[in-house]
């Protein structure tokens, strides 16, 4: 009863998490429309049919891959709520993003930001699901900034919405710059520059 019994049928011959990581990298680099299932299967070292048994469909695989990406937590969004001040938290988030978007052995930019921005008409649902993840990240920033306003870190005249939109845009923009070849130092310098827009208390 204590130990889980082994699964019934033939055991899977490949590492499911490793395969998921492979899919994540391909979607990250080439976008949803830019990766055919055959390419995914080949990179995973399995036949397309095995991919369907293990993950269901290309769409389901993408959704799982992007959740896997977010679970890595390299964007520093979850640490936002623990930060002593919103300003410090946002600054740390920008610097984390700058580093995450320029990891040497990973695709540049943010998988959520660039992987499925625009899709073919029949994949509209993928576009929308990915946009929802971006809105979710923005929501976390929004919550921290609103709290800062309640606690007096920010003046009552500042708009949490505008400030949230601004820093969300900076992160997404960093992602694009990274895709265009900007190095880590440039992005870090740019992040510091962006923080100058933080409102001063009256």
């Amino acid at each position: 009863m204590t130990d889980s019994q082994r699964p019934r049928g033939r055991p899977r011959a490949f590492d499911r998490d490793e395969a998921l990581k492979t899919a994540m990298l391909l979607f990250w680099r080439h976008g949803y429309d830019g990766v055919p299932v055959a390419q995914l299967a080949t990179a995973m070292g399995i036949a397309p049919a095995s991919l369907y048994v293990a993950f269901g469909s290309k769409e389901a695989l993408y959704r799982e891959a992007v959740r896997f990406y977010l679970s890595l937590g390299r964007l520093g969004i979850e640490r936002l709520q623990e930060s002593a001040s919103a300003k410090e938290g946002v600054h740390a988030m920008l610097r984390s993003a700058a580093k995450a978007f320029t990891q040497p052995d990973l695709p540049p930019g943010c998988m959520v930001g660039v992987g499925a921005l625009r899709c073919a008409g029949e994949n509209r649902v993928i576009e929308e699901a990915t946009a929802e993840l971006r809105r979710l990240s923005a929501k976390a920033v929004h919550l921290r900034i609103e709290r800062a306003r309640r606690e007096g870190e920010l003046g009552k005249d500042v708009s949490p919405q505008a400030l949230t939109d601004f820093f969300s845009a900076v992160v997404e923009g960093m992602s694009v710059l990274a895709c265009d070849g900007a190095c880590r130092e440039r992005l870090l310098h740019m992040a510091d520059t962006a923080m100058a827009a933080w409102p001063v208390v009256d």
Copy 2:
């Protein structure tokens, strides 16, 4: 000699510029990989073969479409050099972008920013060509900011590169926010917020 003689063969039955505009809208909305040639031809009201005669290939059509998009000049980049101050010029550029990215009857965001960020491996050249256009826009901002530093509008301690990267990121980020459904007023408010990062003179 003054009037050009009529072309020799059978006249084209469709308006080439109108067809180009149609292609621009589709690439803008769905990205390069997200629009098949058949869809382009159908939207243009012609057969695929006519498309190839008129434009050469899907890649050539895209390149022409994106040049057409830039020729509309709704991003306010060319007015940057004429502006009295770099600060005013950049601010006007951000506000122009906010409006351009939220035109009611056009796709959201920037065609250059979101239309071909990530492509299939065989379309790498499309990615690179589009990235080059983004770098070209950034170069215009860079030039104006460097001039401002020479003329004393900016202190010698500010980094033109970092400031350029920052405002480029804001524009690209606005483009993503627009794709996610942000309205014009939010983007305009965000643009004003971003200008707070403009360095103060010592």
